[in-house]
Symmetry: C2
Subunit: 330 residues, 2 copies
């Protein structure tokens, strides 16, 4: 059935019922008012509050030719939960502002919510409100509110000269997945599935962000724009430079095998991995590595330099050149 | 200069500078991190937290033929501040998610921010974060976070049989302004300016919302969808009906004079007035009227009825029919 036939309030009722049935919001004892009033309302607990917003626009950030509605729902919430994770916070509430064309199919929109509910359940996030409006193409803007239970947060601006630079997981997998989708590349089924998933179904590092805080790390960012661009964000905000040994960058073997010499470029320039890129004392990072479940790899150092300048060298100390420097909208 | 020439990060820097220069964010001693990190962060104070989001899409909610960029900036924040006001809360922080076409003019976007900064300053709201992405048309999604200092809130669901129904200000002025803009109607200059302003430059009732709370009112909504539709929202959420005496509805004389017999229809069905529509004990409302600066008009009663059913009668008790029942997106 078309959304236009169901009507705005009919669609809202349907989506509210999905959220109610998923019992997402009753899981939060602090939530006072979820969907259905002018604002969401919850009991504050005197902790540091975090808020982030991100938009996905059809034709710019996704195409329905290669993404299912459920994947889209998952990702639209995942990229915001990742921002909370990169602050060392815990995601709590989400507001979903949906813009839909007049002829949108109701079944697609419930699919979108199915994906959102799946990740919301995994991370115990209440979908507490939102807004539906009309637009020529689908656009999903999600706001996620979170908090830091110990009031400690991971900032971009706390990197110091002498810090070690490290990253969770692998770099470039999502960019490889995007290439596979965009160019219709063929690899082994397992490789294709894994890399597509890295792009379509990112898993935010919430638990890992909390572990960083507990191990005394104070600087982090999530790799949404790409390793190089995001490290530059840290360096600019902290007034420092960095030296990265490209041979140390953790690249999944599937990406190395499938993309050969292009793999490093994907790892440096490709965004949307949603890993945590962070800096800190080498001993603290060593301690963290013993405690954390995912791979953590040291890739370089924070150095005194022109703020935001990144030196890329190989294992022998020779300069490495790269073309892609991260996602830009304009 | 085109935004595409300035670049995404160039535009972000420019807008951040505007916000910094306006000293909006330094006015909030609770704000820990404004723009420039993965999330905004502020010190919670253990109060009830409020969050709302709303989107304005070019071609659906506004046309640049009749709206200036500054008006657009004002309104995009105003409609969200109004949601906080309708809960009896105080707006604190805003996140702005902007989607812009590739060929957007930088001067227009700074105009948009000028309007946002103007209203943010008036209501002491910090613009604490946001996101810029590309889209085929302009779309502005604003999230506003607020709090209730005494943890009391105005809900849609608290109306009781026997409550009196009242409204602040006038109904139908914004709809009249929209008609003037859309159809190019000509009235006296003063009338035209006033009604256009009601539509383009709404003034949220924040102080009035707080006064409602202080006078013991517990039910309110802001008239964004239209008096009739919004009263229906209250009645549905509260499981009650309402009887409205249409002759009591406060309609600005300019609307009465300019639109004659159509004036009532605009007042009942036209949205975007952003007045507070509320219910409560008649004596409490009488007490409020002595304390509040804006007009407050009693227009009817909450009655036992099919939930959401609104009876319209004239001063003689005769039924009144209406065609428009409020704004719908689909």
């Amino acid at each position: 059935m078309k959304v236009s036939r169901l009507g705005e309030f009919g669609l809202i009722d349907l989506l509210n019922k999905m959220i109610k049935d998923a019992k997402l919001n009753t899981a939060s004892s602090d939530l006072i008012l979820g969907i259905g009033d002018d604002t969401a309302a919850w009991k504050g607990r005197g902790q540091v509050q975090l808020a982030t917003v991100d938009t996905m626009v059809q034709g710019i950030h996704f195409t329905l030719e290669t993404t299912t509605w459920e994947e889209l729902g998952w990702k639209s919430l995942a990229i915001n939960i990742s921002d909370i994770a990169s602050m060392g916070g815990i995601p709590r509430y989400a507001l979903v502002a949906l813009a839909l064309p007049y002829d949108a199919e109701t079944g697609n929109i419930t699919g979108l919510y199915k994906g959102m509910i799946e990740i919301a359940r995994k991370y115990k996030v209440a979908i507490a409100g939102g807004n539906i409006s009309r637009a020529p193409q689908v656009s999903i803007t999600v706001t996620v509110l979170g908090s830091s239970p110990d009031s400690k947060i991971l900032k971009r601006s706390a990197a110091k000269v002498g810090d070690t630079v490290a990253i969770t997981g692998y770099a470039g997998s999502a960019a490889a997945g995007m290439e596979i989708l965009e160019k219709g590349l063929k690899f082994h089924t397992k490789t294709t599935r894994h890399l597509k998933n890295a792009f379509l179904h990112p898993v935010p590092r919430v638990e890992e962000g909390r572990l960083l805080v507990r191990h005394g790390i104070t600087t982090a960012i999530d790799t949404s724009d790409g390793l190089l661009a995001d490290l530059r964000h840290i360096c600019e905000a902290s007034g420092v430079g960095a030296k990265v040994i490209t041979d140390l960058i953790p690249i999944n073997n599937m990406v190395k095998t499938g993309f050969k010499e292009k793999a490093l470029e994907l790892a440096l320039g490709g965004g949307e991995d949603y890993e945590l890129l962070f800096t800190g004392d080498a001993r603290k990072i060593a301690g963290l590595k013993e405690d954390i479940k995912c791979p953590v790899t040291v890739i370089g150092d924070i150095i005194k330099s022109e703020p935001g300048k990144i030196e890329l060298v190989d294992a022998d100390g020779k300069p490495v050149k790269t073309r892609r420097t991260g996602w830009k909208h304009f």
